[in-house]
């Protein structure tokens, strides 16, 4: 009998000294384990990557090897064929970090972290550039946390999507080279419990920035937007400190921008419930309120108020408390307007009491953090109001009290009517292939009448004890603004509370009265042209046109 693995090993290692070159195209083995049991029963086979070598494991314990004779011709001594355009890919040289032990990074070897694993990134340059692949979140969405000790700080990393990778970088923090993680791809949450802990490096080269945890630590989710090259940071808890070099030297975006960009906050901090977009140059592109889940303050309300009502833009949720403001967004903005809240935002609309009057406003777009905006209320050119409170900026449009009821009333009065609320609050009514642009007035009157009425050339609408004027509205403000900007240099544009448009410039002023009904624009129509009756016709982006009478 042969019970000893040691003996077997000795037999296996027979002939482990010098060997002559193995013959090609025939099997050779070091001999069977047990005398007399050698046979041709092949239980296992392996093929080398190039297909030129085989291994055959036998049922008698021998591994036979086989090498094909090379048929490759000897290359000429000189060749002008150039370098090969492809080369064999290198095999992976990763280290897999498993739970239950701490894996120390070193030598630049990439690490694949398994759920629950612990990584130690030692000081020194040998780890710079090391790639860390985070585990794939499980189908049930449970966290696959990885613990990392870097620069003496302990971080928890929780991947959000599959394929999330990080790298170790060295970035100067206050002039001191500091090891910090950078997000290469995917999305993950980094949690630090210690104040001042470097969370994440962004940007590259001399434009690199390092985000650090504020007092008490922070939890931040970073997501790479591969299409824009930006990284979106979402602060889940705590405060994140932005370095001074995260700020662009000059703000290129207009302060009135609704969502595309904003200047970073003045206090250099990001608070819980805020999302920051960081460009590939390490500069902050914008900061807004919101969460990755889309369920926090500043995120879009899911408004389904009527079957025939839609919203072209985002109506932000304002009931949540802003960590930056220390109070609910709706309360903060109401106070900034000198108003008090008169109800909840159940249908997206805020009811405000100001000086004995009640107005209804519809919040629109992103709630931005913009330090250049300044506090206070401002009427924007598109006819909306912007309100700034401690760098937090919101835009408001006039609205009826209940847009859903308006849509239902329209459907009752005009079967087939559908209503859409535009991104600037303009109402777009569709009826039997015709379109109409309307704009509620800022103010409303007490009234008991309901439904629609026409008096003195104005369309009015009553609901919930209030009576609203529905003015003709500008259907496509962007097209109008473009025509003015390109065709009337030096002329400013503003939309008034009654829907009229004021053009001012060169000491003159014109008022344009939009027509409520829209028409189909003729094919190949110019951006605008005068009609025979003295009105101006504006081509809208959607193929319709709107007439404006001039006075």
């Amino acid at each position: 009998m042969n019970k000893s693995p040691v003996a077997i090993a000795l037999l296996l290692s027979l002939g482990s000294g010098a060997h002559a070159a193995a013959p090609t195209e025939q099997w050779s083995g070091s001999g069977p384990f047990a005398s007399g049991l050698g046979n041709q029963a092949i239980d296992s086979l392996a093929i080398s990557a190039d297909g030129m070598r085989l291994l055959a494991g036998s049922g008698s314990g021998t591994v036979f090897s086989y090498t094909y004779a090379s048929n490759a011709a000897t290359p000429p001594a000189t060749s002008d064929s150039g370098s090969p355009t492809t080369s064999p890919s290198n095999p992976p040289t990763n280290v897999i970090a498993y739970p239950g032990t701490t894996t120390t990074l070193g030598g630049g070897t990439a690490v694949i972290a398994m759920p629950g694993s612990s990584l130690l990134i030692p000081a020194g340059g040998s780890t710079i550039g090391t790639s860390i692949a985070l585990p794939t979140p499980t189908a049930g969405g449970s966290a696959a946390a990885v613990s990392v000790t870097i620069g003496g700080q302990q971080l928890q990393l929780i991947p959000s999507v599959a394929g999330t990778t990080l790298s170790v970088r060295s970035v100067a923090v206050n002039g001191v080279p500091t090891q910090v993680l950078a997000l290469t791809s995917g999305s993950f949450t980094v949690i630090a419990s210690q104040s001042g802990a470097p969370l994440l490096a962004l940007g590259s080269g001399g434009n690199s920035i390092v985000l650090t945890a504020g007092a008490g630590g922070a939890s931040v989710t970073g997501t790479v937007d591969s299409s824009s090259g930006q990284t979106v940071l979402a602060v889940a808890s705590g405060v994140v400190t932005l370095p001074a070099n995260a700020y662009a030297s000059a703000k290129s975006k207009a302060a009135s921008s609704t969502s595309a960009g904003s200047a970073p906050p003045a206090d250099g901090k990001l608070y819980a419930g805020e999302l920051a977009a960081i460009g590939g140059d390490g500069k902050i592109v914008s900061v807004r309120l919101g969460t990755p889940a889309g369920s926090g303050g500043g995120d879009a309300l899911n408004l389904r108020l009527a079957d025939n009502l839609g919203f072209a833009g985002k109506v932000p949720q304002l009931a949540a408390t802003s960590a930056r403001l220390g109070q609910s967004l709706q309360t903060a903005f109401a106070e900034a307007l000198g108003a008090t809240l008169a109800g909840t935002q159940s249908n997206g609309v805020l009811a405000l009491d100001i000086g004995g009057s009640r107005i209804y406003v519809l919040p629109l777009g992103d709630v931005m953090v913009d330090r250049t905006r300044g506090d206070g209320v401002r009427l924007e050119a598109d006819g909306t109001l912007s309100v700034g409170v401690a760098d937090v900026v919101l835009r408001l449009a006039p609205s009826v009290a209940d847009p859903g009821q308006l849509a239902r009333d329209l459907a009752a009065a005009l079967p087939g009517a559908a209503l859409q609320v535009g991104g600037d609050g303009t109402l777009r009514l569709a009826l039997n292939g015709q379109y109409y642009a309307l704009r509620p007035g800022w103010l409303s009157q007490d009234a008991t009448a309901t439904g629609f009425a026409s008096a003195a050339g104005q369309l009015t609408y009553g609901q919930t004890g209030r009576n609203f004027v529905l003015y003709p509205g500008v259907a496509d403000y962007a097209s109008l603004a473009a025509v003015v900007e390109q065709g009337m240099p030096g002329v400013s544009l503003s939309i008034n509370g009654d829907g009229t448009v004021t053009l001012s410039g060169s000491g003159q002023q014109w008022t344009l009265l939009p027509e409520m009904a829209l028409q189909s624009a003729p094919a190949g129509a110019a951006a605008w042209w005068p009609a025979g009756d003295g009105t101006l016709l504006l081509r809208n982006a959607d193929g319709t046109m709107q007439g404006f009478s001039v006075r």
């Binding site: 239980d43 296992s44 990557a49 085989l54 055959a56 494991g57 314990g61 090498t67």
Partner: protein, 416 residues
């Protein structure tokens, strides 16, 4: 006779002379019965074979004659049903033996009787304990005075061989009964790993597609072991949730490990925590367990499982659900399945006794290869990147360069 199998006695007829060769030690081969004397488990012209899940072959007692350990022959995998006339014998589950042997003169011999029972130490190979026969009484497998014992001493079998992905001079072998061995000269010489897996019943050896130095070895009885240094040192994975009786292990291109076990198929990202992936596979208490696995290199979620005696199944969702091939190979003693690189719809299967099989529709239907290797007792398959197919048989290696339309023996250098 109290056994429920009594009615099967007439069917369990022994041949006039047993000829199977077993794998019991030539020196430690005797059990003892007070009433009938020595029972030889490695007699001339007979012998008992111990396999992963069952025993087969013949023992000899001078006063009783031949004792047959099971109706199955030919090794491989076979869990006896012990409820059917043609399917009875002694099962091995981990270290516990159960079921029945048969003697024409003494009747049934039970290996898991109340008050007794026989075990097999998976590392030392030593039997221990007591079997029971109504007519012979107790049969003792290990005694002190005089010293006697029955010891399973298999020839070391090379269960798996593996090249390093980057260096064909580096090779590893998983040898059942002898552990992991490494070669740095292309297989010309071998040395044992510095520290071995804690179970030598090795079945598979795979490299992680994510990290070249990380290897996994599967054992029947102790689950999966891992090496992070290219095979020199091994430690057991946590193996949470895994049936430790592993027949086969594969790694998909995305790093997911799949293990075929007696309890079904399991998947894991890290070999620590495993989840069952056996939806749609037959559940027969260990019978028809999946013993073969394959994955499509181009589609990590497309898996194939060979169920010994029950054919080939396919999963397109990472093992969550399985569907049996609608046209199974004519021989379902499946030993290997391989997907042709670059042609996901083309697969090959090796069967023991039925030769090679081919599917041209992604494993839905199978047909016998147009020509067969000279030996139909195939044990394994391999296929290179160019599609050259190799079959390991009981009579050497055969190669095909035309999708098994023809085969060439390549046995020069193999022992006769």
């Amino acid at each position: 006779m109290k056994t429920p199998l009594a009615t099967l006695a007439l069917i369990a007829m022994l041949p006039a002379a047993a000829t199977a060769a077993g794998n019991i030690s030539g020196s430690d081969k005797y059990a003892w019965s007070d009433s009938s004397g020595w029972v030889n488990f490695s007699p001339p012209n007979g012998g008992v074979g111990v396999y992963d899940d069952h025993l087969e072959g013949y023992a000899w007692a001078e006063n009783v004659g031949w004792i047959k350990l099971g109706s199955h022959g030919g090794g491989g995998y076979h869990a006896y049903a012990n409820s059917a006339a043609g399917d009875w014998g002694v099962n091995l589950d981990g270290s516990a033996l159960s079921g029945y042997g048969w003697s024409d003169s003494a009747g049934w011999i039970r290996f898991d009787p109340s008050g007794g029972g026989v075990s097999l130490n998976p590392l030392s190979g030593a039997f221990d304990g007591w079997a029971w026969s109504e007519n012979l009484g107790w049969i003792h497998f290990k005694g002190g005075t005089p010293a006697y014992s029955v010891v399973f001493a298999p020839a070391p079998r090379v269960a798996a061989v593996l090249f390093d992905a980057a260096d064909a001079q580096k090779a590893r072998a998983a040898v059942a009964g002898a552990g992991i061995h490494l070669s740095s000269d292309g297989g010309a010489s071998w040395s044992a790993a510095a520290s071995q897996p804690g179970d030598r019943r090795l079945k598979s050896l795979v490299a992680s597609p994510l990290a070249a130095a990380t290897l996994y070895a599967a054992s029947y009885g102790s689950g999966i072991f891992r090496s992070v240094d290219g095979g020199q040192n091994w430690s057991a994975c946590a193996n949470g949730g895994l049936d430790l009786r592993v027949y086969a292990l594969i790694a998909a291109g995305n790093g997911t490990l799949y293990a075929a076990t007696r309890g079904g198929i399991f998947a894991s990202a890290d070999c620590a925590a495993w989840s069952a992936r056996s939806g749609g596979l037959p559940s027969s208490g260990g019978r028809y367990a999946p013993t073969v696995l394959a994955v499509d290199a181009a589609q990590p979620a497309v898996l194939y499982a060979g169920l010994d005696g029950n054919g080939i199944y396919k999963s397109s969702d990472g093992g969550t659900s399985w569907q049996a091939a609608t046209g199974q190979p004519g021989n379902t003693a499946i030993r290997a399945v391989r997907v042709k690189p670059g042609a996901s719809g083309t697969l090959f299967a090796a069967s023991y006794g039925g030769g090679a099989w081919k599917s041209g529709d992604g494993g839905v239907t199978w047909s016998a290869c147009a020509t067969q290797p000279a030996n139909l007792n195939l044990r394994t398959l391999a296929i290179d990147a160019a599609g050259k197919l190799y079959a390991g048989s009981e009579a050497g290696v055969f190669a095909s360069t035309n999708d098994c339309s023809s085969w060439t023996a390549m046995n020069a250098g193999l022992p006769n």
